[in-house]
């Protein structure tokens, strides 16, 4: 593939010099196979180059990440016969953040006979993403979704069943069919364990070397190709070099750039951002999803937010009091004084309107002074009618563990009074730029799962991240990586190559630099301040003025960080503070990239809501003439404005329509 080196910025911005005007054509080649949409993947597989079975063991592949994407990829690649090294920062591969997904996984099985099809799942996903995703990738995703369910069943994933023994489905937002497969409220856990078990089997077979408590530090690029990585052992602090033929990053999302999110505490941007520093383009970083149904913030001490699965919206109804400042208890407010605002505004999708739309509607109601709870930053999610209709037992069977979790955290009983919920940061559509092969612009570096940008455009539909992670890992990467290995003549490299030495020295210097500061403020305090700026200025509503302000304040915070962060201890031992500080340092730089992206994209689309661009009823106003492209940013140095490469999005099969759920 050809990638032009990013040229000079086309238009410069007063405060920082980033390209906030029109981007330039980048020559980014997405390598989409020719032919009709429905045949592209089949054709790719028919035309791809293969590696002889006995030669496979001569290739080494490093897979960073053991979530759905990384775990499934590492297991499948090892099954094919490749030598695989698998890495995760947790103490066990099983604890990857995918374990926390609750609600379910989509697949176009049409078991319910309700009109589902590959085309419909494809269309829902493209439309859900507000027409900012690549047609060909999304179609393939819908196509392989069916194989995922079969594969998981074969592994023993205990999906929910009907009485007749058939697989059960539930509905999720943004769709009018029932295509979501689930395991109670622990779907992510069960799918992750399936992948983890497949991976464990390969460890046992000697084809995967497992490295847990091991953090990615840097990418090693030799002759323009990804040829290895540097890692840090979290227990001994030791930096290690790993040489390989292919590097796969499946390191998940960067939600904690907002500090508070539904993500695990260790989720980070470090792996993808450091690859970005080495030349990998970062696509659509400002496309971040705010999930409508989370337990509201209760105070400044809070370290994370808890999601209440979207599946609850199958039976729960969302409302606020009709009148401002109505402080009666919810049970005392009669129906005619309640505003079921999603049902009112979006009658055909009702409580199952997509996430970006539902979140904004909740924010609007609260901004209007009709929010509930002590802070006024919450809306009700009410099961009264469902309990009356179906009985408490049925509701307990469907959502028991979620109700318990809510009761545990808030000390309130959701069977008796409605839950209080508020939107929270949940998912990152943005990620490393990849082509149809899921390869970044650095040959040999692949990105899978939430770490790439590929399938969800400007907004992801519920139950589609699990689908994408497993599609990438089980069914796409094993093919495209094989094709890469077969079509490139890779010279052997050793870890004493200068590029390894340089990358290791670079990693060491970054750690030493943090340890040298010896300041007075914990990494956590900086993290919280960063999160506040990003949430306020680059959260649910964004404006030119706010983003410009963020771009002034972030460099100041970064500077203060490097002058006053406290990282006690050494780099040669288990050091939680050091670990957190390295993540925060990368988030600080990355936050600026997000704001640049949000500022440059002078339109509203999906989760990216620029207050300057809305219809009279408050709906997002897209600008297809000027912004129907992927923004792929190139790194220019710390504190330097990034450069923008645009990959135009060409729609040959769907009509770019105003996205309506009314």
């Amino acid at each position: 593939m050809t990638v032009e080196t990013p040229a000079k910025p086309a238009g410069t911005h007063p405060t920082n010099g980033a390209t906030h005007g029109a981007p330039h054509k980048s020559g980014l080649d997405a390598r989409i196979p020719a032919g009709p949409l429905a045949e592209k993947w089949t054709r790719f597989k028919a035309d791809m180059k293969l590696v002889n079975p006995t030669n496979k063991r001569k290739f080494r592949i490093l897979v960073v990440g053991t979530g759905l994407a990384g775990g499934s990829a590492a297991a499948s690649l090892a099954e094919l016969g490749y030598e695989v090294d698998s890495f995760c920062y947790q103490d066990s591969a099983r604890r990857a953040h995918s374990i926390a997904a609750q609600g379910g996984i989509n697949a176009a099985k049409n078991y319910q006979n309700d009109g589902d099809s590959v085309w419909r799942l494809f269309y829902d996903t493209i439309k859900g993403g507000d027409f900012r995703a690549r047609e060909a990738n999304v179609y393939r995703l819908a196509e392989v979704s069916r194989n995922i369910i079969d594969q998981c069943v074969a592994q023993g994933v205990p999906f929910a069943r009907e009485y007749g023994g058939q697989l059960d489905n539930r509905s999720f937002g943004g769709a009018q069919v029932s295509r979501t497969f689930y395991c109670r409220g622990q779907t992510g856990q069960q799918l992750t364990l399936g992948a983890y078990q497949a991976l464990s089997r390969q460890v046992n077979a000697g084809r995967v070397r497992m490295h847990s408590r091991c953090v990615f530090q840097d990418l090693v690029v030799i002759d323009g190709k990804a040829r290895g990585i540097i890692t840090r052992d979290l227990v001994t602090g030791k930096l290690e070099r790993h040489a390989a033929d292919v590097v796969v990053l499946a390191t998940g999302g960067y939600g904690p750039v907002f500090y508070l999110s539904t993500n695990a505490m260790g989720c980070n941007v470090s792996a993808t951002f450091r690859a970005h520093r080495r030349g990998a383009l970062f696509a659509n970083p400002c496309f971040t999803q705010i999930h409508p149904t989370c337990i509201p913030v209760s105070g400044d001490h809070q370290s994370k937010l808890t999601l209440m699965s979207e599946s609850l919206r199958n039976d729960g109804r969302i409302w606020v009091p009709l009148k401002k400042g109505d402080h009666r208890r919810p049970e005392e407010i009669p129906d005619n004084e309640r505003d079921y605002f999603l049902e009112r505004k979006y009658p055909s999708f009702g409580n199952l309107a997509p996430r970006d739309i539902s979140s904004r509607a909740a924010k609007e109601a609260c901004d209007d002074g009709r929010g509930v709870g002590e802070s006024g930053l919450a809306v009700y999610l009410d099961f009264r009618d469902a309990i009356n209709r179906l009985g408490r037992d049925t509701i307990a069977k469907r959502y028991g563990n979620l109700f318990d979790m809510y009761a545990h955290i808030t000390a309130e009983d959701p069977y008796r009074s409605p839950m209080r919920i508020y939107p929270a940061v949940h998912y990152c559509m943005g990620g490393l730029w990849v082509d149809y092969h899921l390869m970044t612009n650095i040959p040999g570096l692949f990105a899978l799962g939430e770490a790439n940008f590929s399938d969800h455009g400007a907004n992801r539909l519920g139950a589609s991240a699990l689908m994408q992670g497993l599609a990438d890992g089980y069914f796409v990467a094993p093919y495209t990586i094989t094709n890469y290995l077969a079509s490139n003549k890779l010279q052997p490299v050793k870890t004493d190559h200068d590029a390894f030495k340089e990358a290791e020295a670079n990693s060491r210097e970054r750690i030493d630099r943090l340890l040298r500061v010896r300041g007075r403020k914990s990494p956590n305090q900086f993290h919280r301040e960063l999160g506040k700026i990003i949430w306020d200025k680059c959260g649910m509503a964004r404006s030119r003025q706010g983003l410009e302000e963020a771009l002034r304040r972030l460099p100041e915070l970064r500077q203060e960080f490097w002058e006053n962060v406290s990282v006690p201890g050494s780099g040669e031992s288990f050091n939680m503070a050091l670990d957190h500080a390295t993540r925060v340092a990368d988030f600080l730089e990355f936050g600026e990239l997000m704001c640049h992206d949000a500022l440059q994209r002078d339109e509203s689309c999906g989760a990216h809501f620029r207050v300057e661009h809305q219809y009279e009823d408050g709906e997002a106003k897209r600008n297809d003439d000027q912004y129907a492209y992927v923004s792929a940013w190139g790194y220019q140095g710390e504190g330097k404005a990034p450069t923008l490469n645009a990959e135009p999005l060409v729609y040959e099969n769907v009509h770019l329509a105003v996205r309506s759920y009314k």
């Binding site: 499934s72 499948s76 947790q90 103490d91 066990s92 099983r94 604890r95 953040h97 374990i99 926390a100 099985k109 369910i149 079969d150 594969q151 998981c152 069943v153 074969a154 592994q155 023993g156 205990p158 929910a160 069943r161 009485y163 023994g165 697989l167 395991c183 109670r184 622990q186 856990q189 069960q190 364990l193 078990q197 497949a198 464990s200 089997r201 460890v203 046992n204 695990a264 505490m265 105070g299 001490h301 370290s303 808890t306 999601l307 979790m405 000390a411 089980y474 069914f475 007075r520 403020k521 914990s522 956590n524 305090q525 406290s566 990282v567 006690p568 031992s573 288990f574 939680m576 503070a577």
Partner: protein, 248 residues
């Protein structure tokens, strides 16, 4: 609220450890136990002292990372994980004792962090269905009764935290092994390897230095996912059948 924490401090695997008294000040009842430790750690770091190390990640009771013995009980006073324990369950002014999981098979790495990789090795020895990616038949070809699916789900809800081991006076991992063996053994997909799986996993458990089960039921009492010790009887039956069958 204010507390005096008595925390196990240990520099690394090879250094001796000891309890250290550390004050926790200005704590709110709505804080989670780990948020309380965050505040204490911020204070320690502001003084240039090493923070208290502990494992944690999801902070919502599902990843199985968090693993503290609080006042002698794995995961503390309430049912659920450490990260789901709230300060409202403690009395203002109380002394709180915080220790790591204690078991030969889980050596301490630093302070409250232990090495639980023995659990991974147990799974590696057989905790799966041997099926490669690709070629699976349609998911509905194999009907599975709702009740069976529910029971399988009950057992596969295990989060692999290791509280069962920490609670057991023999440091036995029987509940952990029983949960996985039963999950797969209940399902038709898991039948072909049912015996060999039970055998391999129990043997690995023994090799890793976990103790025997003497029916104390401490494991069940602390399991955050309420996995029943009855599954251990099922494991015993599977194991005896496997150990007795010459073919396996």
């Amino acid at each position: 609220m204010n507390f005096t924490l008595h925390v196990w401090r240990q520099k690394d695997r090879n250094s001796p450890g000891k309890m250290e008294a550390i004050p926790a000040k200005n704590i709110l009842p709505d804080m989670s136990f780990l948020e309380m430790l965050d505040i204490v750690n911020d204070d320690l770091m502001a003084q240039g002292k090493a923070p208290i190390s502990f494992d944690h990640d999801c902070r919502e009771g599902i990843c199985g990372s968090c693993s503290l013995v609080i006042n002698g009980r794995p995961h503390g006073p309430t049912r659920g994980t450490t990260c789901q324990t709230y300060m409202r369950h403690f009395k203002d002014g109380e002394a709180i004792y915080i220790e790591p999981w204690r078991a030969k098979a889980f050596p301490v790495i630093c302070d409250l962090v232990t090495d639980r990789s023995a659990f991974d090795r147990i799974i590696q020895s057989g905790g799966y269905v041997s099926v490669n990616t690709g070629g699976a038949v349609d998911g509905n070809t194999l009907p599975i009764g709702k009740d069976t699916a529910e029971l399988a789900m009950d057992t596969s809800a295990c989060i692999g935290c290791g509280a069962c081991v920490a609670a057991c006076k023999n440091a036995s991992a029987m509940l952990f092994v029983a949960a996985k063996v039963s999950h797969l053994g209940l399902l038709p997909q898991g039948q072909p390897e049912r015996s060999s799986r039970a055998l391999a996993m129990v043997n690995t458990m023994d090799k890793e230095g976990f103790g025997n089960c003497t029916n104390q039921y401490e494991c069940e009492a602390v399991c955050p996912k309420e996995i029943s010790a009855d599954w251990i009887s099922r494991l015993n039956r599977d194991y005896i059948a496997a150990a007795g069958s010459p073919g396996e």
